[in-house]
């Protein structure tokens, strides 16, 4: 009996084992085609390219491409030897229905040198695991801030325009780009320019004008966001005073001075010998001359480079022979420039003459001649009488 019981026990064990083995073998063969159709459909890094030290997210989209079978998902993890995971893993179980997609998002910190990294996403099914590697870049190339054009020299109190360009040499776009202009003793307009999103490889022009009150250094600060990470680029531009070699330069020629009606009328030509356009050119006389109607001020038209205009002004003087004539014009920004040239008027006073007293020399000469004549005749008559 005892022997029989042992035999019976052994047979029961084999029987149970066989039943379980058969059952297990049947289940594995049935589930494998199902989990094989679950895969990572897309991976998204935000930002797409990290700077060293940037924080960001990576999102894996897991899709169940089975048309009529659900799968059980469990334990989604992100792992990499260099990139640091800031958020936790997905430890709960969840069912992903047929043709459904589920995102798995992880926060990461790219405190690594520039380069390419291949972090791994893994997901467990009840019978197997899913592993997915994707490349992510860490690149420290900043936005490029370039001076496209600026005046050769600045003048105190004169507004000048500086033409800049913001370029993005990175492989991803950046957001919220803002250019700020500052400096001691300057007025910038606009002092802050919102540029917005700068796509990869894009070039965006940015212009601003500066009115300096002193020689100084212009400070430019370009800030932008890579994902949610702020970054900045700084640039200094020295503002030195001097003569703008391109600016309009007016020259008078063919000047004719005509005394007329107690005043002088001056006509002539004006040439723009500069390289830029002179707008609203006006001509008038300065002290000691007193401008007179109807030609107190002569307004010439806008003179482009190498253009010629004419003017006609009238003035009275106090007898001065050198009269300053002021040529004024505006540049494209409205800055006023003055050029003063002297014209020589004839040595005569067309206003009331100065009272310098009678001319003594000719009067004395006349009287002496008369005296000699009278005296001569007086002596002659006396001699004749005697």
């Amino acid at each position: 009996m005892n022997f029989n019981n042992k035999i019976a026990g052994i047979c029961l064990v084999f029987l149970i084992t066989s039943i379980i083995g058969i059952a297990s073998a049947d289940l594995t063969q049935a589930q494998a085609p199902i989990t094989g159709k679950v895969f990572v459909s897309s991976t998204t890094f935000d930002p797409a390219v990290f700077f060293t030290g940037d924080k960001g997210t990576v999102t894996y989209e897991v899709m169940n491409s089975n048309t009529n079978t659900s799968v059980m998902l469990n334990h989604g993890t992100f792992s990499d030897a260099d990139l640091h995971l800031l958020s936790g893993t997905y430890d709960y179980s969840n069912t992903l229905g047929p043709l459904q997609t589920r995102p798995f998002t992880f926060s990461i910190l790219a405190d690594v040198p520039p380069g390419d990294y291949y972090p791994t996403f893994s997901l467990s099914f009840f019978d197997s695991n899913l592993y997915h590697k994707t490349m992510v870049q860490v690149d420290n190339t900043p936005l490029q801030l370039t001076v496209v054009d600026k005046p050769d020299a600045f003048t105190i109190g004169k507004k000048k325009t500086i033409y800049m360009q913001v370029a993005n040499p990175r492989d991803n776009e950046v957001d919220n780009a803002i250019l700020e202009v500052s400096g001691k003793g300057i007025t910038a307009s606009p002092s802050r320019t919102f540029i917005g999103t700068v796509a990869s490889g894009a070039k965006i022009p940015v212009n601003f004008s500066v009115t300096p009150d002193q020689e100084t250094t212009l400070s430019l600060l370009l800030t932008y966001n890579n994902g949610n990470n702020p970054h900045e680029v700084h640039m200094d531009i020295p503002l030195n005073f001097g003569t703008d070699k391109k600016q309009a330069y007016l020259v008078m020629s063919n000047v004719e001075v005509i005394p007329e009606g107690g005043m002088y009328r001056v006509t002539g030509d004006i040439y723009n010998a500069g390289l830029e356009t002179a707008n609203t050119v006006t001509v008038t006389s300065l002290s000691p001359a007193v401008p007179q109607d109807p030609y107190k001020i002569s307004v010439a038209r806008t003179l482009k480079a190498d253009d010629q205009g004419s003017f006609e002004i009238a003035f009275e003087t106090d007898g001065s022979t050198s009269i300053p004539i002021q040529l004024s014009f505006r540049d494209a920004d409205g800055n006023v420039y003055n050029i003063v040239q002297n014209v020589t008027v004839p040595a005569t006073s067309l206003s009331l003459p100065k009272d310098n007293g009678p001319p003594l020399v000719p009067i004395i000469a006349g009287l002496v001649i008369v005296a000699v004549f009278v005296g001569g005749w007086f002596i002659y008559l006396r001699k004749k009488k005697n």
């Binding site: 009606g261 005569t348 008369v370 008559l381």
Partner: protein
């Protein structure tokens, strides 16, 4: 005759003492002398007329030539008028000294005495040639023609031009010198023409001449 005419300049007493017969009554040479003086004066008038013409040309286009011609003719005729007026004055003054000669003889003598004025006028024209181009001539506008004050002002402006002032002073001195030279001749001529003593003749000629010269000097002072 030319030789004796030159005698007028250096020895007028001898010249008038030699005037006898037909020559004593002839007006040919006095007329020639005054005419030549008039032509020389017309030259000066022409130059000065150009200045006036330039001044007026802005208001009245084309008037420049007219003004110039009238100025030249005026100077020419003015010399003859001056000859006549001067004779009248001297003749009238000589009447106070009981002068006996005719008016015609006095006119003839004054005409001879005009000879130095020709030289003076020629020198004046030469001076004017030098100075007139340097004068800055103000222009009269049409509006100014209606305004006497403006016309007065612009005339003053012209007269106060430095070149004009200098020319006026020089020509005045020239005029004084040659007028006195003429006066010297007139004194000798008047003695003969009106039968006056040298003293009376000197007074008859000297009073108006000195008065005229003092007037010229006064004008120099106030201009």
């Amino acid at each position: 005759m030319v030789r004796s005419l030159l005698n007028i300049l250096i020895s007028p007493g001898a010249f008038f003492a030699d005037l006898k017969g037909e020559r004593e009554e002839s007006f040919t040479w006095p007329l020639v002398i005054v005419l030549l003086g008039g032509i020389a004066a017309a030259g000066y008038g022409y130059l000065f007329g150009e200045v006036s013409g330039q001044m007026m040309a802005g208001a009245l286009p084309g008037i420049g030539a007219l003004v110039t011609i009238f100025a030249a003719l005026g100077a020419l005729i003015g010399v003859f008028i001056f000859w006549l007026i001067w004779t009248v004055i001297v003749f009238a003054l000589s009447m106070a000294f009981k002068g006996q000669g005719s008016f015609k003889r006095t006119l003839q003598v004054i005409g001879y005495g005009y000879l130095p004025q020709i030289i003076g006028s020629v020198i004046t024209v030469i001076v004017a040639f030098e100075y007139v181009p340097r004068i800055v001539v103000p222009k009269v506008t049409t509006a100014m023609m209606q305004d006497p004050v403006a016309m007065q002002k612009i005339t003053a402006t012209l007269m106060h031009d430095p070149a004009m002032i200098e020319m006026t002073q020089i020509t005045s001195i020239i005029a004084i010198v040659f007028l006195l030279w003429s006066a010297h001749i007139w004194i000798f001529g008047l003695q003969k023409a009106r039968g006056l003593s040298p003293r009376d003749a000197a007074l008859c000629v000297g009073i108006p001449v000195i008065a005229y010269i003092l007037f010229m000097i006064y004008n120099l002072g106030v201009s």
